[in-house]
């Protein structure tokens, strides 16, 4: 019993300490925004896109006088796209008394972290996680400025069924929440369209040798392969398929669509089909913003740069509209209004997803560039 009382006392003491720290932090005249995503690890380049976009938004908002008379301040947290580290980062953000988070990147990191933010009343906007499960929980503090797998999968599936029309195809995924989710969606759509899915199989992320799988794909005589996952594995699959004489066309989600896939696969990446969010940097309305990125020597072409910019902007707009930095109030406002951003006019549904977001199919080239196939 005494032990229990001691624990309670300790808890009270700790929360008092936290509260006093919180008091100090709120007295400062900046509004901190946590940018959570991979700074390190194999998908760090996607993290860079996210940070580039968000930091630009923070800079520009600050130049225009900030929000409610206060400046925004970016604080970067590295989750390395590791669910365990994401939880640690989320707890750190809670301890650092930050109320607004842009992140995380990988769906498998965003999911566990979002539980913590919801419990602690912290507003989180992800600009990159596309797993439907994240917003399916009906959380009030969680938003996203990008489309869902459940949207990207059907887009890809529809394209395969209507434009490619293969007789036999295979669907491969990396057994992760993101990859398997999209792969399953694609499989369901193409099977409804009467395409024979000869193979639906998972590979282990981090594997280097896919020769056994490629031999199997060759034996099954598939004409088309959809891969749900990220570029390190697909790059190797493409490269080894070319070496082993597998003549099939490949397609993947936005997780494979970056220049590294061309570095890994070389010529074998030519003609790969990728579904990506619309290239916001090609939109004439964003020319000024693209020039601002160029002036800072930053790359504005990544798929998550503009959604991250919008994520920061809607937070700032929400704070301005409510004239407060209370994340709960801001979250309520976001659901009731439409915001004009570089990624279009954003409005959120009850789950925190965008009411309207479309993916576009691109043809990837060996030099790391892409051309749109469908609009």
């Amino acid at each position: 019993m005494i032990k229990k009382i001691n624990k309670t006392l300790a808890a009270i003491a700790i929360s008092a300490a936290v509260a006093s720290v919180a008091g100090v932090a709120q007295a400062a005249d900046t509004i901190k925004i946590a940018l959570a995503g991979p700074v390190t690890g194999p998908v760090a380049q996607y993290g860079d896109m996210q940070f580039t976009g968000a930091k630009m938004a923070i800079d520009q908002i600050n130049k225009k006088g900030g929000v409610n008379g206060k400046q925004l301040e970016a604080v970067v947290y590295d989750d390395a796209c590791d669910p365990k580290q994401a939880v640690a980062v989320a707890n750190k953000i809670v301890n650092d008394d930050i109320s607004f988070v842009v992140g995380h990147l990988c769906s498998s990191s965003t999911q566990p972290a979002s539980d913590i933010y919801e419990d602690e009343g912290i507003m989180m906007v992800t600009a990159a996680s596309t797993s439907p499960d994240i917003t399916d929980q009906g959380y009030e503090m969680i938003f996203r400025t990008i489309g869902l797998d459940s949207l990207q999968g059907p887009t890809a599936g529809k394209f395969i069924a209507e434009q490619v029309k293969p007789k036999r195809m295979a669907v491969i995924h990396d057994k992760q929440q993101y990859g398997e989710g999209i792969a399953t969606a694609v499989k369901n759509v193409v099977e409804k369209a009467g395409i024979d899915v000869a193979l639906f199989e998972g590979v282990t992320p981090g594997d280097k040798d896919f020769s056994a799988l490629i031999a199997k794909l060759k034996k099954e005589k598939v004409e088309f392969i959809y891969y749900g996952g990220y570029h390190p594995e697909l790059g190797l699959i493409l490269r080894q398929s070319a070496e082993k004489g597998l003549k099939a066309k490949f397609m993947g989600p936005e997780g494979v669509g970056n220049k590294d896939i061309s570095a890994i696969a070389g010529k074998a990446s030519e003609g790969l089909l990728v579904t990506l969010p619309k290239s916001f940097d090609k939109d004439p309305e964003n020319a000024q913003l693209v020039a601002a990125f160029k002036a800072k020597g930053e790359d504005a072409t990544g798929p998550f740069v503009f959604p991250s910019y919008s994520a920061v902007q809607i937070m700032a707009d929400g704070m301005k509209a409510t004239n407060s930095e209370n994340p709960v109030k801001v979250a309520k406002t976001l659901r009731s209004q439409t915001f004009k951003t570089p990624t279009g006019n954003l409005a959120f549904d009850a789950k925190g997803d965008l009411k309207d977001f479309s993916f576009v199919v691109y043809n990837w080239h060996a030099d790391g560039t892409k051309t749109a196939v469908s609009e």
Binding site: T204, S211, A212, L236
Partner: protein, 308 residues
């Protein structure tokens, strides 16, 4: 021949290639264990460093405008083996020698620490992104029906078989015939006694680490070029698989490490080829458990006499 025969041959070749690479790395584990009874968990990272040095050499040569494939290969091998061996030597000196007379568990923890250190050291120095290596040797043979399933073997696969076989034979000869090899075997038998008889056991142990690191460097160069992608994390998985191969074949036995590697590789390829690649690790590790249940010392391992 029917198509299914070609398919079988293809999967066998795939398995043997992967198995050879496991074997090359497994030799390093097994040698160290055979002599000082310690599992060098940093060995996978040594392999990774070998890959990075090969990449640095190739990049430097490309910058100097040298594009002769044989010269690039030879210099990548030579420089990587020399520098990686130095790493192997230094790791033993810094992390294991001071702990040699303490509890085995302490040396094991030191090895895990070393592994984490090396991984992060390369990550900080080189960045965590995937680095693409140029494919120096392309092409190969294809056989089978023109319109049906064709089995393929690339030149690179052949090189991997040959290098593994040559390295293993040379090492076996060295251990069984040379004077230094005899000293190695003596150390494996009884380290304390060998020392008393006037053999410099420190030198023998250093040599073991150098040989293990050199072979890991060979594997690093070969696999870096074969798969074409390296990152600071490749050592972990490769080390784990190689360690499994060493245990499967009987840790402490060099032919056992090669046999274990090949069995592991072929099992994985057949599971992926005839069943599903999702289950290849499950089947491979179930096999390990089964073999250890019936033969706890591994396939070629000698039962260890309990020293009192």
């Amino acid at each position: 021949m029917p198509e299914s025969v070609y398919y079988f041959i293809q999967q066998l070749l795939n398995g043997l290639t992967v198995g050879s690479t496991y074997a090359l790395i497994a030799i390093g584990y097994t040698m160290v264990y055979g002599i000082i009874g310690m599992i060098n968990f940093a060995h996978g990272e040594v392999y990774m460093i070998g890959s990075y040095i090969a990449f640095a050499v190739l990049a430097a040569l490309a910058m100097m405008g040298i594009d002769s494939v044989s010269l690039m290969l030879v210099s990548a091998f030579v420089i990587s083996v020399i520098i990686t061996s130095t790493y192997g030597f230094a790791i033993e000196r810094v992390a294991y020698r001071p702990l040699r007379n303490s509890n085995r568990l302490i040396a094991l923890i030191s090895a895990i620490g070393m592994s984490i250190f090396l991984q992060n050291y390369v990550r900080l120095a080189q960045g965590s992104r995937d680095i693409a290596m140029p494919s120096l040797i392309t092409g190969g043979w294809a056989f089978g029906p023109e319109d049906g399933f064709q089995a393929t073997v690339s030149y690179m696969q052949l090189i991997i078989f040959v290098v593994t076989f040559v390295s293993m034979s040379a090492l076996t000869l060295f251990i069984s015939k040379s004077k230094m090899g005899k000293a190695c075997r003596a150390c494996a038998e009884d380290l304390g006694m060998t020392n008393l008889l006037g053999i410099d056991t420190n030198k023998v142990i250093s040599l073991t680490f150098v040989i293990g690191a050199a072979l890991a460097a060979v594997a690093g160069v070969l696999l870096g070029i074969y798969y074409g992608v390296i990152n600071p994390y490749i050592g972990f998985m490769a080390g784990l698989k190689a360690f499994t191969a060493a245990v499967l074949g009987g840790i402490g036995s060099i032919p056992g490490a090669v046999l274990g590697g090949l069995i592991l590789g072929v099992t994985e390829a057949f599971t992926a080829g005839y069943f599903s690649s999702e289950y290849k690790d499950v089947v491979a590790f179930s096999l390990l458990i089964l073999i250890l249940l019936f033969k706890p010392t591994g396939i070629l391992g000698k039962p260890e006499v309990e020293k009192v």
